[in-house]
């Protein structure tokens, strides 16, 4: 083993212990809400918006915006962690739990692929979006979710790196086999657990 590396002259800015223990390795806290997108922000009018569940399912499901708004909603406060190393603590979201959307659906699928306006996709094990771990969020901090942050609705999977929380989400495909999404095909980790620092393929 080589000697531990020390950056000569670096002291660093440590967080209070209470904050530090909420930060996965390599992350730092921001107060603002940075925006990351790979391309232009899509603009889908609510009249044309729908959310669908397709793939390995007996009967595909579809909700219009109005129908979606009448589903039982939940408000959750979560820490979020971006693969580009910022974390934001105590973010408040309102949306519909994936558990609610999957109620009554029989599927043999083990994975999902979330699909979005702008052709973005991301893949997740079904187990990572069920059991109270994921939502389709349409409000942030008590106001409608801004387009730059994924509005009208985005997937919210706060226990994984934030590229899994796909912006402009329009549905989920239930899959028997895992299939890499957009960033997962471009060198990012397939699962993206921030506590294991799974940023890139091979981490």
């Amino acid at each position: 083993m080589s000697t531990p590396f020390v950056s000569r002259g670096f002291r660093g800015r440590r967080q209070a212990a209470e904050t530090a223990q909420r930060l996965p390795p390599g992350q730092y806290v921001v107060s603002g809400f940075p925006v990351l997108s790979a391309g232009p922000t899509p603009r889908t009018s609510l009249d044309h918006w729908d959310f669908t569940i397709v793939g390995e399912v007996d009967q595909p499901r579809r909700w219009t915006w109005g129908e979606f708004q009448r589903l039982p909603r939940e408000t959750v406060t979560k820490d979020i962690h971006c693969e580009t190393k910022w974390s934001k603590l105590d973010t408040m979201w309102t949306g519909v739990s994936i558990d609610t959307l999957l109620q009554g659906i029989t599927t043999s699928a083990q994975y999902i692929l979330a699909f979005c306006d702008g052709d973005y996709t991301t893949n997740l094990p079904l187990a990572d979006v069920t059991g109270g771990k994921a939502w389709i969020a349409f409000e942030y901090d008590g106001a409608p979710l801004a387009p730059a942050h994924g509005g009208p609705a985005r997937l919210l999977v706060p226990h994984l790196y934030f590229w899994k929380s796909a912006k402009w989400v329009r549905g989920i495909q239930l899959m028997a086999e895992d299939e890499p999404g957009f960033w997962e095909s471009l060198g990012y980790h397939n699962r993206g657990d921030p506590w294991k620092e799974q940023r890139y393929a091979g981490d």
Binding site: F5, S7, R13, G26, F33, F182, G202
Partner: protein
Amino acid sequence: MAGIPARLAWRRATVLRHIQETPHVTSLVLNVPNWVGHRAGQHLDVRLTAEDGYQTERSYSIASAPLGDTQVTLTVERLEDGEVSPYLTDVLRPSDELEVRGPIGGWFTWRPEEGGPLLLVAGGSGVAPLMAMIRHRRAVQSPVPVCLLYSSRTYEEIIYREELDGSATTDEDLTVAYTLTRSQPPGWQGYSRHIDRAMLEEVGWAPEEHPLIFVCGPTPLAEAVATLCVERGYAPERVKTERFGPTGGET
């Protein structure tokens, strides 16, 4: 399955030199042992470790062309209240070591064989990954025509200005247009406002030329320019964006 990909290892780079680009921006030229090469537009992760083991990481764009050697240039904007950038610009000295891993990112990249024409739109230090593309194109004498539209606050804050002006003078397929949003020197011939539709129409390619577009800058600029590009009729799937700059201040 193609097998399990190898983990990108942390490597100990050595600082070769600093280049003071502008009052607040410094380029670090690094030697990275066993560097695997990169694509123009990719970035590098940097990890700092204090004596007590405390660590923090940041990402910085690579500004140098991939030239098959082990030198990599990072361009760093010094943030007054930053934890990492003042260390990189003020404390690190030639022959110091720095832990890095990369290259990172497979989307916001360009290779000469992907063609063009290229429309590059930069805000502030967001010019760094676009400079890697311009440098790569020049290094391999690619014939792909390029327009760079580059927004800075002041004349003094234009990064790589002499190199860009020199290249544009000798290369008729490289057009560089500047806009200065805060103040302009006497006799300024460039634009003096935020990037808008008219500017894009004057500088950019016609939609029929089907340009490949890279936009890199602070979020408001990247969002606005990407929207303008779509409204202008450029194909959304050919508009690639990268947010850039400090992550603290935006909402």
